[in-house]
Symmetry: D2
Subunit: 360 residues, 4 copies
């Protein structure tokens, strides 16, 4: 059993960690912090936790645990703070020998200049950018073993990368992509804001961050790695447009990616069947990524760590369109973080997060 | 390991059984029937099942299982058919020595005349009404052990009974109750009907079955048992009004029950604190029923087998109001059915259904 | 043409007034106030107003109107402030000779002690409580003509009163009622609060204000007037329980009222048909209250000033159940306020608010 | 006053016509047909119509109107039938001298071969394809005057065309567009189907018709006209990808269009400000199309005939992105049909459809 801290427990990622870890056989939450809720029990903030079931008198989460300002010493910490605050916390935790999975963006971008351009502040620990392992398990599984610091990917980012990496890895497409992403409102977090007020968000859809969303450079970084690994010459980098949209649902991201197919060795573009075979091969054996036989719906993944990917060739335009979806709070955040933690400790990768989506 | 059939697998209770049993360590689904989907794989009907995770090459649910018309021989069957069809299936299964949890209403009412009045057809196996154990675990836990046939309670019924039984058991209230119940749309099942069409149901709330809902006699039966056990003289039975409402959400039932308090031995009505203490004592040790400290929200229970109960005294009128909520597809149906099955086999009652609600 | 001020225009009642008045042929908004948005154009706060259509170069609402701190002099003002602040504003407006429709609770309760008990502050202008006409048009139509001050009823209150007044007026029921009311989230207003955050409210239903909601004394006051007018002896007042619930939709209130029928002159309780006839007679000629032939759905009234009422006798218990619904922002607030204003000026009562509900 | 028939009144376009025409001062519905509802009153099918308000004893819609199989003789008919059935009805109506606005796709495509390829049946009246005026008022306003037959545009089509026509008309972009469109569920109509069942659609988002949606050739046709008019050489036609998505709301379409900017006369691509000026000029004076100052939300248009368009330059890729939205049942169907009918009769274009969106 490993002891776990949750730093910033009053967030949606915090409470989702509590839900999933309550069923995890190897992690036990022994510390939870949140400045705004110091001194309170977990179930005062999240009353549904009163329903935690005990096994042999023990649960992976004790609803009576008192929230503190600073974490107790634990084996592992999940950091659920906003960027900047997260980095400060991570530095301290690493100094205390705690393994860290950071759910913020602070250690995702390898180039500190890109980070500082997009996040508008000086990175407090740029040296750690080398140490951090990017927590997309399907790409960096080996490196995660024993990693001291995991940078857990963004939600839109995970959806987009799982859709597009196989295409780059197999030289299927031009280095020019458009990603149109639709997210449920929980993606905006638990902090109050008018666009996320029920009466404003319900029955409404809109695009946001049209001048540039911070998930764009993260997608770009990882797709460029995949393209480079596959031999793409991209001296000027990848051309990429990413537009996120808010739609009136609580959970779920659906990304539709538009790309231009390359002509293959036979002098033609591949068919949908050929592309699907390539994708199925690419994800063969992956427990959490599934190539769907029909356009997937976000609801297939509700509350689960699974991602569905659906590639199809638009034969009229020779475009490859890839639809992908997942639960932004699970595979897009907390489930993936636990998947990483399982890998860090050499545990079975699916431990505690194996369930299928709640549907309907 | 017990082998399990699901009879009528294309229903919402069918698919919810698949989801929950996929995580159950002692039950393995080896047979699934549905006339409308004969010959198809489970994941053709429910593509999210492609995400089932295998452990040592095995899962409690194989997405490639072929749906048949008649069930294979198994240890246990969950019957997810409409009433009447369910009874016919149950009779055959029992003859084959299969233990049965019937999710229909066919064996819930002990009085065959009441059944025939409300369900408008001749009961095909009235003798079995004696055999069947009513599957409200909190009441009939002991009887469920080794029971050949379990009549799984209705969803509104479970919500109402868990709210009101402690009050009758403790002689707190008059034998006259009003239950105003609000249900999510999944309660109406997977069959298409205009009121459950998205564009009709969304942003709409209405009352239905105002001339009498079939869950009423079931609530009445069980509350009368509780009242009789507590010594109530109710020669004319309980006076009860039950009005269900549809509200625009997928899952969840919230019932608000209105009753009149009795004067206690001190010549006064009890306080909220006193009532809460009585309720907490009544449900002490129950893994799935929780007396909440604040008005509970259906969402606390989303996807889980838990029920929250909140009693409060309206001091201006000396009424006891009890708010209760649960997930209609889990504690209101499938989760409770698995809880029953666990008890039938002497397994830990919470096996496979211990998780807390998906929230937010 | 009458000039109109909207005091507190950044509220949901403010913007709904802008929407409805943009189609009103006799009222033109010439002043709008809001401390938090001073100096801004209306369409900076509510961009959908850019779509106002001009007729002969004129519209009842100019999207470019600048929001001010204090109102300009106008014929009429709608006050959309929270209680207490509203009363202060009303006093000043009346001194300037402006006719006022106050949408707050400040002038609804005729007994200043009841007001101060429920609203926990000293009423700044108790003398005006006599002057104010309670704006339930169906009851006080005549008094509204030329009234200087209208106290616009609460949203739950309107729904409950329209359901129950005919029953008291016709001596049908005992003076003991339970009102179970379900409201969409816009009823909580535009101010941010966790329970109204989309991810918290969506897929959730709960009861609130169980120790007492401020709409209760208002319902009680008006039902007692109706009962007294009908000759009820109620020395100790009406016995009333009112429980509001939040359900996941933007607009709409559905109230289910439970009462006990009196025995009529024939020594029996009336039938549903008899009660329906009484209700139809009571509301004959009313443009906005309709006795429905089937249980009504809130969505029938979406965006409209209409209310549907559905009485039915529970023959098993001799209870009269009345279901009623309306749009909380229209007949429950702004539409009723305009209806009142039409009556104040002797205009046709339906002017500018005649539309049917947006459905689906 | 013109008399109006609604052919196929039990559809969502049928009931929306009833709602909007109930407020129209010049059109009176004197006939309504629907095979499935013959002999019933309008308000038996749509009970909310009981709330129609009469003016001088008259309303533009009488809720007691009896639905027939064949229409009465009227001045004008709105045809709300599925394709193929619509064409048959249109032919008969034209023979009787009735002016027709057809809401189906039967007369939208000018090339009968394209029609037959996409709709998979022989067109019954190809000669009328020349007669029909495509009902995008902003493009074909003049031709609509006195037109005997109007082909009302598709919902996704209107959203896309209003976003992209100004760009083609001003030579801003390459003839290669991607349109990612998100629609509310009412777009699928009133017929029952599993994907539109509440419990399936709620909290779910997916893409559909990925192998080709019938709105694509319609968008292509009209963009090619716009491009040709602007002097584009497009011998092989426009390259276009259109992907529609279902999102969990009742009404509204949001389209995000992705295009590549052309270099202008100054040897550079235009700025967002320049593009916005061009769009504002293009739509100057349009009563129903508005160039928004911020990304628009579908909810701004709920229940209204307005469309918001928001162009922005992605400076990293020199793409022009245009977000556009409207209510699929109003500007995307019925409101636009009434706008057309107003123009056919030389009435003010905004008559009866001037309202702003219901918001929140």
């Amino acid at each position: 059993m490993k002891s776990v801290s949750i730093i910033g427990v009053t967030s949606y990622t915090g409470v989702e960690l509590l839900r999933l870890l309550s069923q995890h056989p190897e992690f036990v939450v022994t510390s939870a912090t949140a400045r705004s809720a110091m001194g309170k029990r977990l179930d005062e903030i999240f009353p549904q936790l009163a329903a935690v079931v005990y096994k042999d008198g023990k649960a992976a989460v004790d609803p009576a645990l008192i929230i503190t300002e600073e974490p107790e010493q634990t084996d592992l910490a999940f950091v659920c703070l906003p960027h900047a605050a997260a980095a400060e916390s991570v530095v301290k935790l690493l100094e205390r020998g705690v393994k860290v999975v950071d759910l913020s963006a602070d250690f995702r971008l390898r180039d500190v200049h890109v980070y500082e351009e997009w996040y508008k502040h000086i990175h407090p620990a740029p040296a750690l950018l080398e140490t951090a392992v990017y927590g997309l398990c399907e790409r960096y599984r080996e490196r995660l073993h024993n990693a001291p610091l995991v940078a857990n990917p963004g939600c839109h980012v995970t959806t987009a990368l799982l859709a597009l990496i196989p295409a780059f890895a197999n030289n299927l497409i031009e280095p020019d992509v458009i990603i149109d992403s639709k997210t449920g409102i929980s993606g905006a977090g638990r902090s109050l804001a008018l666009p996320n007020h029920f009466a404003e968000a319900n029955e409404g859809a809109d695009a946001y961050a049209l001048t540039g969303h911070r998930h764009m450079p993260e997608i770009k970084q990882e797709l460029e790695v995949a393209a480079s690994d596959a031999g793409y010459p991209i001296p000027n980098g990848l051309r990429i447009t990413f537009v996120p949209h808010r739609i009136p649902m609580t959970r779920g991201i659906l990304s539709t990616s538009y790309t231009n197919l390359r002509v293959n060795a036979d002098g033609r573009v591949p068919t949908t069947d050929e592309v699907r075979t390539i994708y199925k091969d690419y994800y063969a054996g992956e427990p959490f990524v599934h190539v769907a036989d029909q356009p997937p719906q976000t609801k297939w993944t509700y509350g689960s760590n699974h991602c569905f990917v659906y590639p199809i060739v638009d034969t009229r335009t020779n475009r490859l369109i890839v639809v992908s979806c997942l639960d932004n709070l699970v595979k897009g955040a907390v489930g993936q973080a636990i998947q990483c933690a399982n890998l860090v400790y050499g545990l079975p990768e699916t431990l505690g997060i194996a369930g299928v989506g709640v549907n309907p």
